[in-house]
Subunit: 118 residues, 2 copies
């Protein structure tokens, strides 16, 4: 079996990668909100940390009632218990990825976890 999987992503409103890429340590979604729209609910998580990256456009997140303005290039980490909702701006869409991982699951990384082969 090959040690990799690859996909290319379209401009659908939401694409989930867990099954497409056979992910085992994360779920990743790509989300596109038209101008003036929002994710239609507030949510938090039981166990999972979420990391959001703004690919293009602008909008805002509201976390525990606090508004955080977001533009292309911004990264935001939200603890499981943070109550969050995402909005496109009134006049621009927003595209973002959301990375969902189990809080405190990373034990070692980069130099500690890596093995060099040349």
């Amino acid at each position: 079996m090959k040690n990799y999987n690859k996909v290319s992503i379209s401009q659908d409103s939401r694409t989930e990668l867990h099954d497409k890429l056979s992910l085992t340590g994360a779920e990743i979604s790509i989300n596109n909100l038209p101008a003036g729209t929002c994710v239609p609910f507030v949510h938090s998580h039981k166990n999972n940390e979420e990391i959001y990256f703004i690919l293009s456009g602008k909008g805002k997140a509201v976390v525990d009632g606090e508004t955080i303005e977001l533009i292309s290039g911004d990264w935001i980490r939200i603890s499981p218990q943070g109550q969050r909702q995402f909005f496109a701006s009134d006049d621009e869409p927003i595209s973002f990825i959301c990375i969902q991982v189990k809080e405190n699951s990373l034990e070692q990384y980069t130099m500690e976890d890596g093995i060099m082969h040349n």
Copy 2:
């Protein structure tokens, strides 16, 4: 303490987010390779799955000796044991993010892990 952290990322050759965002379930790096250059080593991992997303430009990955052409919008998952190296194309730079998570660490996600608040 706030339930979130935010950063905006520049065009440095490599930016690591673990400490900047107080991540606990992933390490994430943003990488920019000029045209004609590559990551100067082949590596694999002890425990960590890696997920790469091509932000812009083009290039290739070589995984276990197999060449995978990459362009903006591509996603690729690589198992810990995959021996990998990343290259920009000869005439274009490549920018990509690398998400490092512990293999098999995700227990539940999205609807199973989420809690709705309205």
